[in-house]
Each structure stands twice: as structure tokens, then as C-alpha cells.
């Protein structure tokens, strides 16, 4: 590094300046990504697992979910449109600036398959998932969430999700506790308890 050595004696054009400036400008973004990863591993992992595949069926698997969708949900928790005993407390401690980084952490993770415990129930769920219930006006889940349950930016991935979590969401939509999507509120109200169980079982196996 002859330039640096020569610097005190003979100032040269500061060719390093742009690099330093852009490093400083980029820093917050990098820091935030690093922060988000750190938060995911130290805060979120307790419930959602290190790689977003939660070990506890009460908590959702986040691995492989669309990043835009995850962002929207984090914001919904922060705004109080979605409430949960655990999550609502934790979201209050997080800087909203980290949400994008968190979504970017979980989106690319590899989702683990779910476990079907009752194949007969899952078969009933499949019929409902693919065809809906024309008597009660329940649309086919596949219409929005796709046949493979992988979802997209508008509609969340369902494939492989824990039964208990799916059922909790259906119940929360029905009761209005979760008010992030008026269509799902309608679906939650139109589904019977038996239909909900069948769907959760089928979805776990997708």
C-alpha cells in the first residue's frame, strides 16, 4: 500500500473515498440483514425453529413462505390486525426496519414435510380442498392456495403446515381475532369443525 505510506508526505487524489462512502451508505442495510438473521436465530427460533420449521405444532412453519406475505403478516402483527398471545408481545420488541430482513431469512429456507396421522380424514380434506362445498359456499382452497399448496405473494403457502396451527388460524378467522383477510373470515365462518379438521389433515400432507 504505497499510497498510504506516502500520504503524510504527499497527498494524492483520494481514490478510496467512493469505496468508503458507499460502504458507509450500504452499512445500514447490511447491518439490518445481519440483525435480522441474528434476531431470527436468537428470538424467533425459540418457537419457529432455527430454519423456520417449527418443532412445536402450535407455531407455524415459516420456511418457504413468500417473502411479501411474511412481510405483510409481520406488519399486521405490529398494527394489531393480527393478534397472538406470544407473537403480539414479541413483535412490540422488534424494529419494523428488520421485518424485510426477517422475511428474507425465512423465505428461502427449505420447508420440511408435515405428518398425516389419519389418511381417511386427509382424503375428505382433499375433496374439500380441491372442490369446496357448493352447498355452503366454501370455495375450493386450491383456487387461491394452488393445488400443491405452495401459494404465492397474495396467498400463503399451506403445504406441510402443522394441523394445530392451521386449525387455530381457521378458528381465529371465524372469531374475527385474525382480520387480515375478509375472504378467509368468510371461509372460516362457512367451514364446519369437521371440515376444518379434514382440511388441516390434508394440508399437513401436501
Amino acid at each position: 500500500m504505497p499510497n498510504l505510506v506516502a500520504f503524510p508526505l504527499k497527498p494524492r487524489p483520494r481514490r478510496w473515498l467512493p469505496a468508503v462512502v458507499s460502504a458507509i451508505l450500504l452499512c445500514p442495510t447490511l447491518l439490518m440483514a445481519a440483525d435480522a438473521k441474528e434476531i431470527a436465530r436468537t428470538v424467533c427460533a425459540a418457537c419457529h425453529g432455527m430454519d423456520g420449521n417449527s418443532p412445536d405444532p402450535k407455531h407455524p412453519k415459516l420456511a418457504g413462505m413468500d417473502q411479501e406475505y411474511l412481510m405483510r403478516q409481520l406488519k399486521a402483527f405490529a398494527d394489531g390486525k393480527r393478534r397472538d398471545e406470544t407473537m403480539s408481545g414479541i413483535i412490540a420488541t422488534l424494529d419494523p426496519a428488520t421485518f424485510a430482513g426477517l422475511a428474507a431469512y425465512y423465505g428461502p429456507q427449505k420447508p420440511t414435510p408435515g405428518k398425516v396421522k389419519d389418511p381417511q380424514l386427509a382424503a375428505k380434506g382433499r375433496a374439500l380442498y380441491e372442490d369446496g362445498n357448493t352447498d355452503t359456499g366454501v370455495p375450493a382452497c386450491a383456487g387461491c392456495h394452488q393445488s400443491d399448496g405452495k401459494g404465492n405473494a397474495r396467498f400463503p403457502r399451506l403445504a406441510g403446515q402443522h394441523q394445530a396451527y392451521t386449525l387455530k388460524q381457521l378458528a381465529d378467522y371465524k372469531s374475527g381475532r385474525r382480520a387480515t383477510d375478509p375472504l378467509m373470515t368468510t371461509v372460516g365462518k362457512r367451514l364446519s369443525a369437521e371440515e376444518g379438521n379434514a382440511l388441516a389433515e390434508y394440508i399437513a400432507g401436501l
Binding site: 369446496g132 357448493t134 359456499g137 370455495p139 375450493a140 382452497c141 386450491a142 383456487g143 387461491c144 397474495r154 396467498f155 375478509p182 375472504l183 373470515t185 368468510t186
Partner: protein, 221 residues
């Protein structure tokens, strides 16, 4: 708790049927701001394909509906008709309890409605619609030619600029159900001549004419 819910539902259902017993008829196709705006909007069929995702859980992929008539085929329907029906449903001019939450202001924007209509209008209409039993096709043809074809067209192609729906390619069961509702005054957003044309039809005649419509050749737009 459950019984309270159930009795609440029953009461609500009872109230609903009372309210629907004598629905006030609408002035045929009277303009109102939302419909006018949706009709005037610059539509994009590609955006419509994406917006239609929330509809296809019932109306099925490709908007082909279901042969049991529970949900009509929308593919190939005129955009004007689709916009009128959608805005009529969400403004309460056409009663449709099942559909309302999926058509209301929280579910669809005016732009979505225009886009979806443009998308549906351009979809192909394969000859896979549910047809009637074929019991009295001669009678069906005779009634159609006498009472229906002046508005709905010789091929059942409808009239886009007059908001008359295309009926060819539609499921028999849907045609039958809706024609009964039309005759019985349960579709308020209808042209008075439509109601008058079939006011004296028997159930058998409605079945015959619906059967004929479900067999009209496709392709007429």
C-alpha cells in the same frame, strides 16, 4: 352457546327469506356511479387473470363453472354483462348471499372488476357444459325461437352493448335455476321483458328451453 348460535342463524335466515319474499324490482340497467366507472375503466386481461384467483375456488379454473349449476360458467361472457352483474351483486341489486363476500368492496376494486371482466370475456368456451336430459328439444327450440332469440340471439350469443348475456355454452342446471328465479321475480336486476317473456312458462317449459340453450352451438360471440 351452540343452540344460541343456531337459533340466531335460524332467525337470520327467516329474516332473510322475509326480506326476499317481495324484493323491490330495479329499474332495468339504470346507471349508478360504480357500474359506470367500471364500464369506463381501461381494462387489462393479464391483471384480470391474477385478480380472478379469488373467484376460481368456486367458478373453477378457466371460469368453466360446474355442470351441477352451483356456479355458472363465466368464460366467454360479455364484459359488459359481467360488470353489470358483479356491481349489481355488490350493491345489493342482485341478491347472492354466497357470492357477496367475494365481490364486495373489501374483496375487489373497481379496477379488479373491469380487469376480471376483460379476462373472462376472452377465455375459450369448450363444449363441456352440462346439458339437459334432451326430453323435449323440439318444444325447447320452438319456445326459444319465439320468446328468447330476439334478445339472446339466434346462436345464444347475447348482445354485449345491451347487456344481454350470452346463454350458449352455459350449464343446463344453471340456466334452469336462474330461469325459475327470473320467472318467479327473484332476480330483481332483470329486464322487464325478460320476466314478461317467461312469466307464464311451466316448469317443464323452462326445462325444455334451458335444455335447448345448453345445446346451442358454441362460437357465436
Amino acid at each position: 352457546m351452540l343452540s344460541r348460535c343456531l337459533s340466531g342463524l335460524l332467525l337470520a335466515g327467516f329474516g332473510c327469506s322475509l326480506a326476499l319474499a317481495n324484493p323491490p324490482p330495479e329499474v332495468w340497467n339504470a346507471p349508478y356511479p360504480e357500474k359506470t366507472a367500471a364500464l369506463a375503466a381501461k381494462a387489462d386481461a393479464t391483471r384480470g387473470a391474477s385478480a380472478f384467483e379469488i373467484c376460481q375456488g368456486c367458478h373453477r379454473a378457466g371460469a368453466l363453472g360446474r355442470p351441477d349449476g352451483s356456479y355458472p360458467r363465466l368464460a366467454g361472457q360479455h364484459a359488459t354483462v359481467l360488470i353489470k352483474q358483479l356491481t349489481d351483486v355488490r350493491s345489493g341489486r342482485r341478491s347472492n348471499v354466497k357470492m357477496l363476500p367475494f365481490a364486495d368492496h373489501q374483496a375487489l376494486s373497481l379496477q379488479d372488476i373491469a380487469d376480471i371482466a376483460a379476462y373472462l370475456q376472452a377465455l375459450p368456451v369448450p363444449p363441456s357444459q352440462g346439458q339437459g336430459p334432451g326430453g323435449d328439444l323440439a318444444r325447447g327450440r320452438q319456445l326459444y325461437d319465439r320468446d328468447c332469440q330476439a334478445c339472446h340471439g339466434q346462436m345464444g350469443e347475447g348482445k354485449a352493448d345491451r347487456f344481454f348475456p350470452r346463454v350458449s355454452g352455459q350449464h343446463y342446471q344453471y340456466l334452469l335455476r336462474e330461469s325459475r328465479m327470473l320467472r318467479d321475480g327473484q332476480r330483481r336486476n332483470v329486464h322487464p321483458e325478460m320476466t314478461a317473456a317467461i312469466a307464464k312458462y311451466t316448469d317443464d317449459e323452462l326445462a325444455a328451453v334451458s335444455d335447448h340453450m345448453s345445446r346451442l352451438p358454441l362460437g357465436g360471440r
